[in-house]
């Protein structure tokens, strides 16, 4: 047996050890960068060749809040997020109802079209959006940036809500009707509670998408609409890793919430691609 | 060369709290078709998987042709297996599917093609080599599976509920084909099923399993006519059970006192006086007579509680003696209506005693 084959054979026999090594390395590979951000954000005097910061401090967060303008940035982020969520959810409810409960020719094709903005990097159509906004004087406005976010939030909202509406069992409504409930009562007592989890899920996803959105914000923002991602980007340019890390920690919070939610419920395959198994 | 081809020696396998195989000891003879029969969860599939190696027994050893294969990896065991859901390789043609084991064994192309052709001829699928599994019907797919299992001439063929995924009519057809192939090749076969009809029709011997244990091993006749436990009697066909105790016994007959009547039955070898016995009788073995027929041994008055017309047979529920219930099936020539009085005769030779348990 040649050396290469012997080597491969040994690797195959040592499957278990290799597998364990791979999993361990993977965990470190994934988590270490995030851990470093966390540590940097609270480290004092961390220079040179130290594994861990010698002291812990909240100075950087304080600096971010007082000098880095974080409260205003957060305000912007949340207001824009709120508008984006409201608009996306409204779009999602209407379109989701159409997809989920009504006869629609070429549903799959339409759904693919709806998801197109998520499949193409935002910079491609972001240019056009920016140009339009310049003309309409929507640049540096809450509404403008929020609408730009809608292009990335709405597709997922539609996806989630059409699944929600599709899952609404017609027979439950019928049973309620037979029990004597009119349309309004049926809506409030039966429909609403049943679709509420879906609406909440879609709102959380939309909010996270808006909160994290960077590219489109970069193209449509101005001094009054600096969001957290943009602020963090600007901090990188300034060169203070500690401040940037503190801001990055603030940015990560909704993502972690989403992570725990996903882990408990949805199938990850649905997040990926969005076409297969829609 | 021993007669035993496959031997389970005290095999036990446990899954969490469930004992799937409980000290299973079974010998399967060379060239016979043994069926493992039982309800789901009885351990028959686990036993089969101990043979393939997909399951390692916690205790006990497994032997094939005298060799202890308990620790041998699956791919070295030289067995053929037919699966319930066919398990054909969807990305390969029929030719490649059947030729796969030969390719693994590094046979040359010419010999591979020759053997594949032979195998396909055996299952009557010549000419289908270029088809893909998805283009074939269920029955055809199963035959490809059979060809693939036999193409490398294994010593033993395992069949794991091979007919369950086929519709009823096809099942009967395939039953004959499988039996024919197995007999012609004189190969030892282990067949797993929960369908008693299949078991009785196909097997040289049947092993009935219940909750990880062997209830009885025997030919289909032995199982059907002389079940050794209540479970076996109930599992195969319809049965009547009459429980009583031995009143008197001589060399070839014993009299059992049951619910106010005396029933004569073939003597149990070790039956002592007063011992509890369970008499067992198939519904179609009881003779139904008119009430004016003269009496005799094992002739009793009975009352028809219910009569159900089933087309070719009539199913009766009778009571006799002191509230003893009996289910009788006769052909539809003679009919007795509900509520009438009749006479029944339990043929002495057909009363089979199972020692209680």
């Amino acid at each position: 047996m040649t050396l290469a084959r012997a080597y491969l054979r040994a690797m195959w026999d040592a499957k278990l050890v290799l597998a364990f090594t791979l999993l361990l390395s993977l965990t470190m590979f994934i988590l270490a960068p995030l851990l470093m951000i966390g540590l940097r954000s609270v480290g004092k005097g961390w220079f040179g060749r130290l594994w861990l910061p010698p002291q812990l401090t909240l100075d950087w967060y304080r600096w971010a809040i007082e000098v880095g303008n974080i409260p205003e940035v957060m305000k912007n982020t949340l207001i824009i997020g709120g508008i984006a969520v409201a608009v996306s959810t409204a779009i999602g409810i209407f379109a989701g109802w159409a997809f989920g409960r009504r006869q629609l020719p070429g549903k799959e094709v339409l759904m693919a079209i709806v998801l197109l903005p998520r499949m193409i990097p935002p910079i491609t159509y972001g240019l056009g959006v920016a140009k339009i906004f310049y003309t309409l004087q929507l640049v540096d406005t809450y509404l403008g940036v929020a609408m730009a976010h809608v292009s990335v939030c709405a597709p997922y909202a539609i996806l989630v809500l059409s699944a929600t509406f599709e899952g609404l069992d017609e027979r439950v409504l019928e049973a309620a009707g037979v029990c004597g409930a009119n349309t309004i009562k049926r809506f409030f007592y039966v429909v609403l509670p049943l679709i509420m989890p879906g609406i909440l899920a879609s709102m959380i996803f939309s909010f996270t998408n808006s909160y994290n959105e960077f590219t489109l914000t970069l193209l449509t923002y101005g001094p009054h609409t600096v969001t957290l991602p943009v602020r963090t980007y600007l901090a990188v340019g300034d060169g203070y890793w500690e401040i940037t890390s503190a801001m990055a920690m603030l940015m990560v919070v909704p993502s972690l919430v989403i992570l725990t939610l996903i882990q408990r419920r949805a199938k990850p395959e649905k997040l990926v691609g969005g076409f297969k198994g829609v | 060369m021993t007669d035993a081809m496959i031997e389970f020696r005290d095999v036990s396998k446990r899954y969490d709290s469930l004992l799937a195989n409980d000290h299973l000891s079974l010998t399967i003879r060379r060239g016979e078709l043994m069926t493992l029969l039982g309800p789901s969860g009885c351990g028959k599939t686990t036993a089969l998987r101990c043979l393939t190696g997909y399951v390692r027994p916690d205790e006990g050893r497994v032997f094939i042709d005298g060799t202890d294969i308990t620790d041998l990896p699956t791919h070295q065991r030289e067995l053929g297996m037919v699966f319930q859901n066919f398990a054909l390789f969807p990305h390969m043609t029929v030719q490649d599917n059947v030729g796969f084991p030969l390719m693994i064994r590094n046979l040359g192309k010419a010999e591979r093609d020759e053997r594949v052709a032979q195998a396909l001829r055996l299952v009557r699928l010549e000419g289908y080599g270029a088809h893909y599994p998805r283009q074939l019907s269920g029955g055809q797919q199963q035959r490809v599976g059979l060809a693939r299992a036999l193409v490398y001439r294994p010593k033993v063929l395992l069949l794991d509920e091979p007919l369950s995924n086929l519709d009823a009519k096809l099942r009967e057809e395939m039953r004959f084909e499988i039996k024919e192939v197995v007999t012609r090749l004189r190969i030892t076969a282990v067949y797993v099923t929960h369908d008693q009809g299949e078991a009785l029709a196909l097997s040289d011997r049947v092993a009935i399993m219940n909750r990880g244990r062997l209830e009885q091993v025997g030919t289909p006749e032995e199982i059907y006519e002389h079940p050794q436990s209540r479970f076996v009697a109930e599992f195969i066909g319809l049965s009547n059970f009459l429980e009583g105790h031995v009143q008197s016994a001589d060399r070839d007959t014993m009299v059992v006192s049951i619910g106010g009547v005396q029933v004569a039955a073939p003597a149990l070898p070790n039956a002592g006086l007063g011992q509890r016995v369970l008499l067992f009788l198939r519904p179609n073995e009881v003779e139904l007579l008119r009430p004016d027929v003269p009496g005799g041994t094992n002739v009793f008055d009975a009352h028809v509680e219910k009569a159900t017309y089933l087309g070719d047979t009539i199913d009766y529920r009778l009571t006799f003696g002191q509230g003893l219930a009996l289910r009788v099936q006769t052909d539809a020539q003679r009919r007795f209506g509900q509520g009438t009085e009749v006479r029944i005769r339990l043929p002495r030779i057909r009363c089979w005693a199972i020692t209680s348990g």
Partner: protein
């Protein structure tokens, strides 16, 4: 009029429901893309006239060639490495060993973390004062100075892998888990070792799934923006180049940027259709055994 309503009311209601979505799609995606397309044919800084010079300038300029080449290199490298990482990982994860839920969660993390944050963390970890270099300098002989990873091409490729390999891994894992295990059992009983089963049976059947996932990774890497923006150093892949055209020169070169954007968009559409084709083939990798 009411007659018209009665016969078509259902369709009209459906249309009405879809109106907000269609308006949003049109106004925020389709029309902007159209505008970008038109802009790409306009001479720089003008509102009228047609020209191809934006395209020709970009496509003939060696700088333009380098940008495209760089983008392909980064995307291909990241995709290849992702596949190499994802396939063994998926094979391990499907066995549902102890803690597999934890590792599956690990794989999801890069998907939910915004690219900016991921890039920042990666810069810190692989930077001259990060743990990677600390480890090298302390535990590996001959290494006395930090190894450059940040702002290099190979570093960037690895950053892309961190961010985008989950697409490949999840799709591959999904494909693996939809395989009928009895097919593998049949292979083993037929005499194939586990490795042979993997090589002749499992891998061919999951290849469409792997390909589908790797196209996703490729597309994400090809269109990456925030990551190369802060971690690319002097390297400017397509998306960054587009942005640079409108952010750096004054006045902003909208037409040039648009042309590049259209080129990138066209390429992305081609990749997308490839993905669709692979996905359709991936759906066929099922075991037989269904009654027809």
């Amino acid at each position: 009029m009411t007659g018209l309503w009665r016969t078509h009311s259902s369709k009209l209601i459906t249309l009405f429901l879809l109106l907000p979505a269609l308006a949003g799609f049109f106004g925020l995606f389709f029309y902007p893309m159209l505008l970008t397309l038109i802009l790409s044919f306009r001479p720089e800084g003008q509102t009228l006239g047609w020209t191809l010079e934006n395209y020709t300038r970009f496509l003939s300029d060696p700088d333009g060639h380098w940008v495209m080449l760089l983008t392909f290199i980064l995307a291909l490298g990241a995709t290849a490495l992702s596949v190499l990482l994802s396939v063994p990982l998926a094979l391990i994860l499907r066995e549902k060993g102890r803690g597999h839920r934890f590792y599956r969660l690990m794989v999801l993390i890069p998907l939910v973390v915004p690219g900016l944050i991921g890039a920042l963390g990666l810069l810190l970890f692989w930077g001259p004062r990060g743990w990677f270099n600390l480890f090298l300098m302390q535990f590996v002989p001959f290494v006395n100075r930090p190894v450059a990873v940040d702002y290099t091409i190979h570093g960037l490729i690895m950053f892309y892998v961190w961010l985008y390999f989950p697409y490949t891994c999840i799709t591959t894992l999904s494909s693996l888990e939809s395989l009928d295990r009895s097919i593998e059992e049949a292979g083993e009983v037929s005499g194939a070792t586990r490795w042979q089963v993997l090589r002749y049976i499992v891998l061919p059947l999951i290849t469409p799934g792997i390909l589908a996932g790797s196209v996703l990774t490729f597309m994400a890497a090809f269109g990456a923006f925030s990551v190369p923006l802060i971690a690319g150093g002097n390297y400017r892949p397509l998306a960054v180049e587009i942005y640079k055209q409108i952010a750096v020169p004054i006045p902003a070169r909208w037409s040039a940027a648009s042309a590049i954007a259209i080129v990138m968009g066209a390429l992305q559409v081609i990749f997308l259709s490839l993905y669709m084709r692979f996905v359709r083939r991936a759906g066929g990798a099922r075991g037989t055994g269904d009654l027809r």
